[in-house]
């Protein structure tokens, strides 16, 4: 078969302006945008490093939903101890119900909360049973009170008194941190 010179081709010899506009761009701005991977990865890596640095693997003491802690500037770091939460009229020891505050507020008298006292004493007894005699002098004496900022003083004092009587004289009030003066 003889070889012929090719005939007229589309786009080159036969003008197809609408195709040129759609396909070849026709000199208009391209619809595809280039994403710079280098800067994107840089950003992601910096974010990961920042979050890793501020990550706490030890976990934080959980706060009851809706409970607002007061803020203080002259604070100390948290420690690991039983947490007594007072919020919405309930007293909770590590999330377990250990009394209610309505009676205390109504009577306006500082009392010992029986349920809380029993549970705290039981906790202490359990610790003593599970540790050898040589460690008995290190029996835990610290407790953390997680109290909503609007709770009345009579409730705070009642819980304070109960914890002290149960053998937890080192009582710590949990607060939210406020920037220290001079920082």
């Amino acid at each position: 078969m003889a070889i012929h010179e090719p005939g007229r081709t589309l786009m080159k010899h036969v003008g197809l302006q609408f195709v040129e506009k759609k396909v070849a761009g026709g000199g208009s701005r391209a619809t595809n945008a280039n994403l710079s991977l280098t800067s994107m990865i840089d950003f992601l890596v910096v974010t990961v490093v920042f979050l890793l640095m501020s990550f706490s693997a030890s976990g934080e003491t959980p706060i009851a939903p809706g409970l607002t802690l007061p803020k203080a500037a002259n604070y100390e770091d948290m420690l690991n101890a039983p947490v007594v939460s007072i919020h919405n009229g309930l007293v909770l020891l590590d999330g377990t119900r250990a009394g209610e505050t309505r009676t205390i507020e109504d009577n306006n008298v500082i009392i010992t909360i029986p349920e809380l006292l029993t549970q705290l004493k039981a906790r202490k007894d359990t610790w003593k049973l599970s540790h050898p005699a040589s460690e008995q002098k290190d029996v835990p004496q610290a407790i953390i009170l997680q109290i909503d900022q609007h709770v009345k003083a009579v409730v705070v004092k009642s819980v304070f008194k109960t914890a002290a009587l149960a053998g937890y004289p080192n009582i710590n009030f949990m607060v939210d941190t406020l920037a220290k003066s001079g920082e």
Binding site: Y168, V175, L178
Partner: protein, 206 residues
């Protein structure tokens, strides 16, 4: 796709020395890591204010024969003022006697930070610091001064924390580093790591 050129041309049918890092799984990994860290992040930082319940121990009962008379600072929260009194063995120390510190109204003392109301009693903190310098214990015995807080049963917890925060603004260095009286280094100026609160707080049970 991004690539890493490690040199060489890979001639003569040998395996090419150019290798490529697949960017898609790498970006996926970074995204997942960021998501995990953001979800588990804790943005509120909790701390504590320490108080000490004065429970008389059996050992203290045995030591009744040699009583230790210590100065104790009593702070009374009144609606319009704070009353500071130093007592020694139940007897008011004269001077200074009872010192009145005006209690600012809530519109001045309380500020809002989000849902939290921050109570700040600056004048009280300043007066307590001055009083501590003039009246506190003098031995470098690593013991804190005791402060007893009297407040109305109907007072809200945030005001108690406000007073405790003012009280804990007074700091000292314990032991020899702080000098014979614990006041050699001024912790209000230096912010040293060894600086501790000068007071232990407790409440009255009435």
């Amino acid at each position: 796709m991004a690539g890493v050129d490690v040199g060489g041309g890979g001639k003569g049918g040998r395996k090419s020395l150019d290798s490529e890092i697949n960017m898609i799984p790498m970006i996926d990994l970074l995204m997942v890591t960021i998501s995990f860290l953001l979800i588990t992040a804790v943005w509120t930082h909790m701390a504590r204010l320490e108080a000490d319940a004065q429970v008389q121990s059996q050992q203290q009962d045995k030591d009744v024969e040699k009583p230790q008379v210590e100065r104790i600072l009593f702070i009374e929260m009144m609606p319009d003022k704070f009353v500071l009194t130093w007592k020694e063995g139940g007897v008011k120390v004269e001077p200074p006697g009872a010192i009145d510190v005006p209690r600012p109204p809530d519109s001045v003392a309380v500020s809002r930070q989000g849902s939290t109301e921050v109570v700040h009693y600056g004048d009280l903190a300043k007066t307590i610091n001055e009083q501590w310098k003039a009246n506190s214990r003098t031995q470098a015995d690593n013991k804190k001064d005791l402060a007893i807080l009297h407040c109305d049963n109907q007072a809200e917890y945030k005001y108690i924390i406000g007073v405790m925060d003012a009280l804990y603004e007074t700091k000292r260095v314990m032991g020899p580093a702080g000098g014979a009286d614990g006041k050699k280094i001024d912790c209000s100026v230096t912010h040293l790591q060894q600086c501790e609160t000068a007071f232990n707080v407790t409440f009255t049970s009435q």
